[in-house]
């Protein structure tokens, strides 16, 4: 039955729009709140205006900050778009604008990469494709027509995407450090021992084990417990408890709250219909119609490719030799959340052979503390900063410049060890997706 689920999945089944409309509103409101929070914390300037140098993604170097006031305008547009999503006003354009502006901002500097930002980007992308504004929205009100039934796939793709996020986050935890040594939680939890009420428990090792095991179990199974009607309510209470706990313990911003409201979509049509009926009692229920988008095979193949990519991306690390946590080749965009405590240190030496001159450059002259911290543990960023130094000093001296680093890193408190080959001139190393053989192998 499971095996022929995909072929027999009918794109023309319909579902009541209520779950999707709830999701639309919840997501839009959360995004608006996130933008206001980000803005009022002064992070627009701190992350996207003040830095002298940014770490763009390979192939996306053309994406650059708009500076001041450009970035504020971009965030304002993003806020308007989030509101548009929540209200279902000019919905498709709002979703497109939100997706593009949000993704653009995230691509400016990989320093700020967070799995939850990636999550927001892809949910925003999926929202472009679904008719979430057909009812309970400004658009429906403008058209004076409430279409209460939407293709079922528009709800299912979001459920599937959420499930993948949890499941892969759980899968990533199935490794010895996490399960057998309760790392990195054994390092992180004691540092939060000043947390009110439960703080004193965090110094105990068994707490770290309990959290690790429970976390892995939770991530792997919560989508299934949410899907199954009989366990749904208790599962959702667990979702609330779990995410509020992580919010209290870690600096993870809005993510817990976003997940708490997003997972409401697992609830039944009835549940959501009752919710909407309280707000708009005058919108009467109607008879389901067949979806007009009957069996669009383009859409079908698109989603097959999309979800195949979603499933394959987290495994791309296997194409690279070496320890994933050390080289971080294939680490991002794989739902590896709260998985390791990694700290590094990098000392840059600029060498100008023609002038027989070498000198050390302190990264903090050019990087913010957060940029430097992130760079210290991520080889691709060390290379990017080396190239920045190369270009800077080559243009200043008009001579060929070599860049060497002395660097150390530690993962999960296992002790610092040499990270990047100190004898390799990073100025001459290429960026890209090829294996970085100048990262020293991780040795015991």
């Amino acid at each position: 039955m499971v095996t022929n689920w995909l072929p027999t999945y009918r794109l023309n089944q319909v579902k009541h729009i209520a779950p999707l409309a709830t999701f639309r509103v919840a997501f839009g409101v959360m995004m608006l709140a996130s933008i206001i929070r980000f803005w009022s914390n002064g992070w627009i300037a701190k992350q996207y205006i003040e830095p002298e140098f940014y770490f763009p993604y390979f192939g996306f170097e053309w994406i650059q900050t708009f500076g001041d006031p450009g970035m504020y305008l971009l965030f304002a547009a993003m806020g308007v778009a989030a509101l548009g999503i929540a209200l279902g006003a000019f919905y498709r354009w709002s979703a497109i604008l939100f997706f593009l502006s949000f993704t653009y901002v995230e691509l400016i500097d990989k320093t700020n990469y967070l799995n939850h930002y990636y999550f927001v980007s892809i949910i925003a992308f999926l929202l472009i494709l679904v008719p979430a504004n057909k009812a309970y929205s400004i658009d429906a009100w403008r058209r004076k027509k409430q279409e209460l039934y939407v293709p079922a796939w528009s709800i299912h793709i979001i459920i599937l995407q959420l499930s993948l996020v949890y499941f892969f986050a759980g899968l990533a935890k199935l490794q010895p450090d996490w399960l057998l040594e309760a790392l990195p939680l054994k390092i992180w939890l004691p540092s939060r021992a000043n947390t009110p009420i439960i703080g004193f428990l965090l110094d105990y090792k068994w707490t770290a084990y309990l959290f690790s095991w429970f976390g892995a179990f939770y991530d792997l199974t919560i989508p299934f417990f949410l899907l199954w009607k009989r366990t749904r309510v208790i599962a959702y209470l667990t979702v609330i408890a779990f995410h509020f706990m992580t919010a209290a313990l870690f600096q993870i911003g809005m993510f817990p709250y976003i997940m708490v409201v997003s997972t409401l979509i697992f609830f039944s049509e009835d549940f959501h219909q009752r919710l909407w009926k309280r707000i708009f009692p005058e919108i009467a229920s109607s008879i389901p119609e067949r979806s007009k988008l009957s069996n669009s095979s383009i859409l079908k193949y698109f989603f097959i490719v999309y979800f195949a990519l979603q499933i394959l991306l987290p495994f791309r690390f296997a194409l690279y030799p070496g320890k994933l946590f050390w080289t971080e080749q294939g680490y991002r965009f794989s739902w590896r959340v709260m998985l390791m405590e990694k700290v590094g240190y990098t000392q840059f030496t600029v060498s100008i052979p023609e002038q027989n001159r070498s000198f050390e450059v302190l990264p903090n002259q050019f990087l913010t503390p957060v940029q430097e911290k992130m760079m210290n543990t991520q080889p691709d960023m060390i290379l990017q900063f080396s190239h920045f130094l190369r270009d800077k000093y080559e243009s200043e001296t008009d001579k060929e410049v070599e860049i060497y680093v002395q660097s150390y890193a530690t993962i999960n408190g296992k002790g610092s060890r040499p990270f990047i080959d100190p004898n390799v001139d990073l100025a001459s190393m290429k960026r890209g997706y090829q294996h970085k053989n100048w990262v020293l192998p991780y040795t015991k």
Partner: protein, 372 residues
Amino acid sequence: MKSLKFSFFILVLFTCFTACDPESGSEKVDFDREAFLINMADNVIEPSIEDFASKAEGLSVATNSFNINLSLETLNVLRSELKATWLSYQHLSFVHVGPVSNVNLRDRVNIFPTNTEIIDENIASQNYVLGAASNVAAKGFPALDYLLFGTANSDEEILAYFGDPELGNHRLQYLSDVVEDIQATSTIMVEGWGDYRSTFIGNTGTDVGSATSLLVNEYNFQFDIRIKNAKIGFPSGGNPRTGGVSSPENVEGYFSGWSGDLAEKAVQASIEVFKGEHFDSSEDGLGLDDYLTALDAKTRDEVDLSTAIINQKMMALEEMEKIEAPYSEVASTEGGQLVAVYNELQAVIPLIKVDMTSAMSVSITFQDNDGD
């Protein structure tokens, strides 16, 4: 049925807690963070500020005596008061938190090499504001080092420099102004400490702005940038890759030749602060070392991290003690000795900047983070 499954799950978990981690004996991190912060506050930082203030007071008194009576005797007293204050600074600069950081102690009193040209110009023009950014390298201990040792070749000539009928008073005035600036700094720190103390001991977390986070980050900065780089690295030609181009004039205490004493004192102070040693009695209190031990922090070779840090610093001190001459002389003749010191100090850096910060999990930002 469900509750049965859940009990089974819990059972499996507890079996694992008892079975999976047999070698680590301690079941919890047994460390009184508040007691640690109270020790650092009351037995390390406050007495260090008080000591600096009393030395600065001595420096001020000696400056007045020198002003009233220019003699070899008052000059030598003044010089020794300068050295005492400068040595005291080496300890205080490792606890650059609260009022110490508010007055920006490091940059306010110890930017070297000093800029003798600006000092000469200031004296000539008599028109200067020591607090101005342009004068950052024209004040503090390095400026006094120049005025009291570098303005002429012999003690007699230095006395003559200050006794000059035309410019002597301007020079004495500049000397007094620099000393007064140092003393004013110490007064602000003494006055500010009382209010800050409760803030300091009140936040036992490791977030940005917490006492532990500030202590560790400032400690590491002082050791890496102001000790390893500034005192040893630059004058000796920096790291091995800089090709041994030395610049002896960049040492601390260039004119007095106190570079070795000051640098050794700094490394010693870094050990004392690390161990939480009581400033007045050298009694071993709760320090960063005890915190690391409680956290069971180990190096790559399974050595206790706190032991490794102290041992590595002792090795650096050993190399330093081998050097008799001022570092400026060493740097201009056989830089190798300083490079040896540099290498030992450099070996401390990963231990404190990588292993220690990781073990304590200190933050540097309020920004969101999902640990990847």
